[in-house]
Amino acid sequence: MDVLGKEGRQAFGLRSNSQVGLLLFSLVSLILLLSSLYAAEASVFKKARETALEAASPVLSFFSGPIAWVQDRIGDVGDYFRVLEQNKALREENAALRQWEEEARSLRGVISALQELDAYEQPPEAKPINAFVIGEANEAYAHSMIVNAGADDGVKSGFAAVDERGMIGRIVDVSSNAARILLLNDVQSRIPVFVEGSYVEGLLVGRSTSRPAISITMLADADKIAPGQRVITSGAGGVLPRGLTVGVVDRVNEKEALVDLSADYARTRMVRILSYEFPQVETGAAADGEEGPVDAAVEADATPEPATPTERAPQEAPGASPQAAADAPEARAGAVPPDAAATDEGD
């Protein structure tokens, strides 16, 4: 049955062949599907995904430019009608933020004092890599985003991705110029989290709901979780840094707690990928101790007993602990201004 009655169009496959092709390729799809049931993260599939990511990223970047432009214009028009209420809301937010700023400043003072009390070694700071969202899986059961930063920018699989509101997900596939973020509400997403206020640790499990509500697998003190408590990353397992904002507990039922994510995936345009590696215990620390025998003595005195720092506090705190600064200038670079550290070393 040749519906269209043109022979010239047979170049791309005869009508009679198409049933065979349909059957053949359906079979291929099913085989692929079955194999991905058993080995979803097989290296061949991963490689294929990463190659596709690399090839598609220039095209997606090309697409995302005009899309962002149009979205900006549409957003602007909407804003004109809401400018008054937005202004009011912003003023209120500003006032609230100013209070927080005060509190943050005072806390910073407390923290720097505490750091000086002891030869406190800061956890390694996560180095951020900025990227734009150029792609998104607009599917019901796949929640991921593609960003325009890849292995060339230092992105690695497993890094956390945050936006200005909080954590959005974790890098799963990396090509040279692009990377895929698995969002927190994807069914495959599992993130170790900590609930502030109830001290419960658990796993945040994505459930593919359109509203980002996520269940926590409960541990011992489950009944202490209450709505309104903040959820942050726990850093358990050493894959993610501790303390990234994830969301707020929304509802608690007998089996799980649903979390309202801080991230708003419909508004995520720029993300920050945190390159974080779990602090390793290095043999270098021991070598440092042998270099300076005087410092080693002080350290040996300070580290094992938690009581000593408080005793030493009055003498050490004003002097900005010269030994400690000289000990590990790299580690303290964040806490002590560089020039101060330099003068200490000069002394």
Binding site: F25, S29, S36
Partner: protein, 170 residues
Amino acid sequence: MSSRAENLARIARTTAPTLLGFFGVLLLASPLRLFEGTVATPILPLVVVYFWSLYSPGHLPAISVFLIGLLQDLLSGGPLGLWPAVYLAVQYIATSQQAYFLGREVHVVWMGFAVAAVSVSIILWLFMSLLSATLLPIGGLAYQMLTTIAAYPLFAIIFGNLHRRVIIEV
């Protein structure tokens, strides 16, 4: 010279539906976020596959459908083979009911698309639930499929024009 141009034009015509399918996949992978993300992105490749399998199957062979689905799987990071299976199922539904649909009124064809979309949604939901070992919520998928079904007439008009003016009338 003119024969080469004709050749190129012919190739462009024969591959147009396939390219349109790839374009649909790329559009689906873009952060479109219609109306600030309140409207789900229609699954354009689904419309492409249904439309061309019905009206001109010769222009969209099974391998094209397979590749369109595979690209979508690769870009979304889902299990490979899922969308090829879905699109090939749609192609099967369209080609097997072709004799019934051709020559019918437009809204009958539209209903046919709705039936096809609902059937593949069930396949999709079943498989993804099986893969994640839980019963997944069906709301998001239903919403996206409804958006796609609602958007079908618009795409059908565009594709119909393309089909009549560019691909058939040489």
